[in-house]
């Protein structure tokens, strides 16, 4: 932005920071984006299948499957916290959603009479109001995520427990509850609204996978919230200097609880979307996804010490991970190399940023 109006100050010995030394150009996100572009070019020459429509759709869909949760965890990371419970949360929300959906669609089931009736043939189950069951079951799935997020936030912000320990506990609690409610078997979406459910989670609009559309909408919303609302400003302030945030009168406790709730809700939504693609919510679904999600956020430039991060970085991190995975498959390299490579990239991305900040 150019200096507005006639500036009341003359800058005799304070230099202006050049445009290429600020904002995205001076961030880890920028470097990783560049690396991603280079990788895409390499892939184009390495494999004729890479830039085909089918493969692009595939890549877009696959990275969308962790990117929404990555957006959520990025909020937490910006405040200087961490949420390890996202993987379990994905599973539990998905499971509750499909269990509620099945339960409400089974005549004779709990409260089912409000939602479904038998067709004249005595076999087909019809919905009283199409889509209502779907709405209620998704709200139920997000509801449990909301509760888990509130508990996380309460323990961390009010009781002062460490985020790592609290969410490690929540990881186990939520995964355990998933096994308890499903008896370890997992659950399947069913009933008259199941088709809507599949269309909304794994369908596509004009060839664009719907998870990708959700991701874009959520990422844009997140960008606006982070940079153009006072809540977003407070999230950054909290990560930059928590004591200062408190002294300047920012409602620190409320902001902290809010970020953990946002993170849990994003994970829940992500889980529901994944279960639509899988066609079920097995009890071991999304096991250790928290590591992929946090890795993607960190590769994209979110700083675990707090204060830095954003939606672009989260998405770039996810895309990079997916392109590498996809590329290794196309290049017919054993997919077992993927994890090793991801680890190397995490360290490299952070290392490059460290070297850069030493140089300036």
């Amino acid at each position: 932005m150019a200096m507005p109006m006639e500036s009341p100050i003359t800058f005799s010995n304070v230099g202006k920071i050049r445009w290429w030394q600020r904002g995205i150009f001076a961030s880890q996100t920028g470097y990783v984006l560049l690396a991603l572009a280079v990788l895409l070019v390499i892939m184009h020459f390495a494999s004729p299948y890479f830039f085909t429509e089918g493969n692009m759709q595939n890549v877009a869909k696959n990275f969308s499957f962790i990117a929404i949760a990555t957006l959520g965890v990025t909020f937490v990371i910006i405040t200087g916290g961490i949420d390890l419970s996202v993987g379990s949360m994905m599973c539990f929300s998905a499971m509750i959603t499909s269990m509620v959906m099945t339960e409400l669609s089974t005549p004779g089931g709990l409260g089912a009479s409000l939602f479904v009736h038998m067709a004249a043939d005595g076999k087909t189950v019809l919905a009283n109001v199409p889509g209502l069951i779907l709405l209620v079951s998704i709200l139920a799935g997000l509801g449990v995520a909301l509760i888990a997020g509130l508990v996380n936030g309460f323990c961390i912000a009010v009781l002062g427990l460490s985020p790592f320990v609290t969410t490690l506990g929540m990881l186990s609690i939520v995964r355990g509850l998933g096994y308890v409610v499903s008896n370890g078997r997992g659950s399947f979406p069913g009933g008259p609204d199941a088709d809507y459910f599949y269309a909304l989670t794994s369908g596509d609009v004009l060839g664009v996978p719907v998870p990708f559309i959700y991701l874009m909408i959520l990422a844009l919303t997140m960008a606006v919230v982070l940079h153009h609302t006072s809540f977003g400003r407070h999230v950054f302030a909290l990560g930059g200097n928590e004591k200062a945030a408190e002294l300047t009168g920012i409602p620190v406790v409320r902001v902290k609880i809010e970020v953990y709730v946002i993170c849990a809700l994003a994970a829940g939504l992500q889980g529901i979307i994944i279960s639509g693609w899988l066609g079920s919510a097995p009890a071991n679904m999304a096991t250790s996804y928290e590591l992929n999600v946090i890795a993607a956020a960190v590769i994209g430039g979110a700083n675990l010490a707090g204060g830095i991060g954003g939606p672009l970085g989260a998405i770039v991190g996810c895309v990079l991970l997916e392109v590498i995975r996809n590329g290794l498959v196309l290049a017919q390299v054993s997919s077992y190399w993927q994890q090793t490579l991801v680890g190397v990239i995490i360290i490299l991305a952070v290392l490059v940023d460290r070297i850069r900040s030493r140089m300036t």
Partner: protein, 252 residues
């Protein structure tokens, strides 16, 4: 010059504070007038910071009365003190390094524009107002530079600009010159002069004798929780103040 305005902006009468059996402050009377710079000196544990925290609303006094601009006030939280016009510049400045100068100035009281149900930050107005404040303080600080990239003097300017935002009538500065270079000390003392010119009362808590003698109109010395001296700066000397701080001289 110091007594030009008859009503003191801050008037403490018989302020005392006990923490359990420990008497941190005892019977402190103090007046601060608009446009006056008062140096508050004393050794560690003399009661300076307790006094500052009482004025800033962090603690409630066990005894005594605080009057601000003529009327009695009771602060339960720092926000209450800020509401009447008392601002504190903390020793570590309480800035968020990862935010811009303008964002730090407006932290916790951002300017917003409403679009129906949503309120978005008004970046332009905030940057313009911050630039104005830096201009008043004659500090070469750009509103959209990150605080991380700034010098110690610029950081002080950001922290002080924050107090100007609310048109504070009393600014308390806790060791503003403790950890910065000689040139930057000069800048900070300049900033204090700017505040004074605008009729703001300043309380400078400092260990650095030369700084106190360079900017203050009056010096108050605390020792063992009591006020031992309260003198116009030209009636005392660094030697006398040192004696008062260490206890070589009991009172003046």
């Amino acid at each position: 010059m110091t007594k030009a305005d008859a009503t003191p902006v801050l008037e403490l009468t018989g302020i005392g504070k006990e923490f359990g059996a420990i008497r941190a402050l005892h019977d402190v009377d103090l007046q601060v007038f608009p446009g006056e710079v008062v140096g508050l000196m004393g050794d560690n544990g003399a009661g300076k910071s307790t006094l500052v925290k009482i004025i800033a609303g962090n603690f409630r006094p066990s005894h005594g009365e605080i009057r601000f601009a003529g009327s009695a006030v009771h602060f339960n939280r720092p926000v209450d003190a800020r509401a009447v016009g008392i601002e504190v510049v903390y020793q570590d400045l309480a800035l968020s390094d990862n935010l811009t100068a303008a964002a730090n100035v407006f932290l916790g009281r951002e300017l917003k524009r409403r679009f129906g149900p949503i309120a978005l930050l008004d970046h332009k107005s905030m940057a313009a107002r911050a630039l104005e404040l830096f201009g008043e303080l004659r500090s070469e600080t750009r509103p959209d530079d990150l605080v991380k990239q700034m010098s110690g003097g610029q950081r002080q300017a950001v922290a002080i600009a924050r107090t100007r935002l609310s048109n504070a009538r009393l600014v308390m500065m806790d060791e503003p010159t403790a950890a910065i270079s000689v040139r930057q000390v000069e800048q900070v003392l300049g900033l204090i002069h700017r505040l004074k010119e605008q009729g703001v009362a300043v309380m400078l808590i400092s260990h650095r004798m030369p700084d106190v003698f360079a900017v203050c109109d009056r010096v108050v010395v605390m020792r063992r929780g009591e006020k031992r001296a309260d003198k116009p700066i030209h009636e005392t000397s660094p030697e006398e103040v040192t004696a008062l701080i260490t206890g070589a001289k009991e009172a003046a």
